[in-house]
Symmetry: C2
Subunit: 476 residues, 2 copies
């Protein structure tokens, strides 16, 4: 118990200093570490295993949608960025430039990709001749670079890992549908795999991707009431097609510009998991994404037969397809309990001499700290138990989220709403000035457009006719 207190003390108080709590958790659980260059992070094995689980699941979902993986060069000619006016304006200030290579100054500076629309559209334009070559649906897993002076591991770093999907279609309709379909793919993934309920919708002009016609976002509510943009999809229209001469011959043998989309999620998702499910004791991982789903901890492990039984149980669970780990280190069970609690392992299984005698084990769930015994003849109920934990974690997050969405009809109410750690639904006239006013007064930004405003409603800021109902929040 003394140890437990000591232990909790090492993580900042989640209520009093959420940012420090976050940093303590991601560093102390060895998800991540700071790299030597400012703005960079090292993703350690425990964090990377989460990323690999995310990759596996997204690859499965993408593949069902006919998307194929590929890999494009990281260095992009600086001139490519400039071909799309909004795109360069958005990204030029934060790119890293390679100016020298192989001992010489380069004839043209190269940009370390902040995103790959430009180079991928250039290649697509080479690959498409006729409508028969369309659609093209490509995804790449890659590192990208957007210069940062501060470092918030997973949330804001110069280099991060992501997937970026890029497609080209013959018709506007199909491309628009793709952007929405991928948004749904992300949203389903967030709900079903990460147990994070998200809001989805169109972004306002101000918040859209540099170069897009329309950006769709999925926004996740963190425990501190702030929003984390967890994924975006973009309908790019002909913007990049025109910049990169991406044309095809249609059925009538006429040259047409293709319509493109792009969409991505990144290692930010790991930060989202931490801040959606964690608590004072550290991480709490949903079973589907957890590197270790069940940790088996022997009690009095040096007594005869204990380790043997623990091994037997571990093997059985592994054979059921569970990611299970036997922790047989020479340390006290209490110390191990603390460690695996902090690391967010969804289910702990204790087995000691008395348990063996009684043919049972003790289970402990991480997310709600329930403790109960299970007959060793019923180990095959554990996969279903993990499924239940996953469902309950989603339900818990959903309740939390739903209780923290408030409506506001004035600038003061919007301020009050976000100040009290809520998402705020407000009517909006559609103009940039009112969006800026909210930013200035409440430090909140529009996250997604929820729906069209009803006849007769007015903007919470200027009182003019409302066009949209928008979700505002402070954001990561």
């Amino acid at each position: 118990m003394a140890k437990e207190q000591q232990f909790v003390k090492n993580i900042a108080n989640i209520e009093e200093d959420f940012p420090q709590w976050y940093t303590d958790v991601v560093i102390k659980t060895e998800l991540v570490d700071y790299g030597p260059v400012k703005g960079t992070m090292v993703i350690r094995p425990y964090g990377y295993a989460i990323w690999e689980n995310i990759q596996k699941e997204l690859n499965r979902r993408f593949s069902e949608l006919g998307v194929q993986n590929a890999y494009f060069p990281m260095l992009i000619p600086e001139s490519y960025l400039m071909r799309e006016a909004e795109h360069v304006e958005g990204f030029a200030p934060e790119v890293a430039l390679v100016t020298h290579a192989g001992g010489e100054k380069l004839a043209e500076n190269l940009v370390v990709r902040p995103t790959s629309e430009t180079i991928i559209c250039e290649m697509f334009s080479k690959w498409m001749q006729s409508y028969r070559d369309l659609p093209i649906k490509i995804n790449q897993w890659a590192n990208v670079m957007r210069w940062e002076k501060t470092t918030r591991p997973f949330l804001r770093t110069s280099e991060f890992l992501w997937q970026e999907g890029h497609t080209a279609y013959a018709t506007e309709e199909d491309a628009r549908e793709d952007a929405q379909k991928m948004l749904k793919c992300y949203s389903d993934f967030a709900h079903e795999f990460l147990a994070i309920p998200v809001f989805t919708g169109v972004k306002t002009e101000k918040e859209k991707f540099a170069g897009a016609v329309e950006t769709y976002g999925m926004e996740a509510m963190m425990l501190d009431g702030k929003s984390l943009q967890a994924g975006t999809t973009h309908y790019l229209g002909k913007n990049f097609a025109k910049a990169f001469n991406m044309k095809f011959l249609d059925k009538n043998n006429a040259l047409q510009y293709a319509f493109s989309t792009s969409w991505g999620v990144s290692t930010r998702l790991i930060g989202a998991i931490v801040m959606a499910h964690g608590d004072q004791r550290g991480l709490s991982l949903p079973p589907k994404v957890a590197p270790i789903q069940v940790v088996v901890i022997p009690v009095a492990q040096f007594k005869e037969g204990v380790l043997e039984k623990a091994n037997e149980i571990t093997d059985k669970l592994a054979k059921m397809g569970i990611r299970v780990k036997l922790d047989a280190r020479d340390a006290s069970p209490g110390w191990k309990f603390n460690e695996w609690e902090m690391k967010g392992c969804p289910l702990r299984l204790e087995i000691g001499p008395r348990d063996i005698q009684e043919n049972k084990c003790v289970l402990s769930t991480r997310y709600n700290c329930e403790k109960f015994t299970l007959s060793l003849d019923e180990l095959d109920t554990i996969p279903a138990l993990l499924e239940t934990i996953q469902q309950n974690m989603l339900e818990k997050s959903r309740k939390m989220r739903d209780s923290k969405v408030v409506e506001a009809s004035s600038l003061d109410e919007i301020f009050e709403g976000v100040e009290n750690k809520n998402f705020v639904k407000a009517h909006w006239c559609g103009c940039r000035e009112c969006e800026d006013a909210i930013k200035n007064r409440a430090a909140a930004t529009s996250r997604v457009i929820v729906e069209d405003a009803k006849e007769g409603t007015v903007c919470a800021v200027c009182g003019k006719k409302a066009e949209k109902v928008v979700l505002f929040a402070r954001a990561y």
Copy 2:
């Protein structure tokens, strides 16, 4: 038939112009394309799927050896490279430098990683306190950059993909063993998964990794008799430990430098597969690495019941865990046969109206063009057939390789040997001058040291006492 001739004509003659044959094959089968910046490549879906199969299998093998995946920053302070004298000498001439980022000139230039020993040792030194923290065994899948002016897709490009393993041990013995164990891991993988028989051994001083105490290599013989370095492992001693102050407290509470290793294979392996198994008709892929193991081609597919049966067969094979594709495009069977032959699909299954009547299908193996019928009741023999194809492809490569290793006891014989597209075994005194003489006379380099020379043998170049028997070859 006319089409087939046409088709073969599009690939350069493999006997007359092997380099052009290689380029034609990798481009026309859509494994790869040239990127817009000189020296870069785009790995297209068909090539990337091969890479993903390689990744999956190596991850499985690494994990069994206790290796964990992680991710380290791509940008390395230039000063890091300089801390290890040989390392900087080897890599400085070919690095790409980021000098500006976020709109400003950087205080220190950053190197795009050509390899990550420096930054990883820096992090290891932070993570290791006592001997209890050792060994550390980490792998990362990443892009790396070594500036090139020419582009040979997969073989020589500025940016390529690879895995780099990095370990730290408390003792020299364990670290040396790691370098050898990983060499065996690579060699087993090459034999069992890629069906490429490789030579393994220690590299000479001249050929070793910049910064290593000892480098082990695995060398694969290509169809043109040249060698391709397909993977290396390095015992780094305390070299990097000293440069990065990588120390731990041993059992006696004394500070000690750790011993480290590193090891890697890259997308070069895809080039190795092409040049080890291909022929005039294009690629020939071993089943284990092939993105599509069986292609099902309906004959007279618009006749009633044909597509239905083809679909049924495809589903059955997929359920057996086979990577199978039904090619139901609106094109002639002959055209499809050619395409899938060029793309190296190991097994083709044809099904037409008469076959259905007779309850059979026609199978065709890619590597030796055998054609035979199979009862539709015996589809479950196909996994074993794929296994046999895999074995036979290895056997075929092994025979080819063994027939092309010759011994030489003079500079002229070495020249003659490599000129006739062989690997040449020769006795060597161990001095750099003789190695250089062979390079100058025969354009061949030492690939690996095969064994210690026997008492009384002499160097093929200078006639002095021989120390080693070495494999020389021209190399990619």
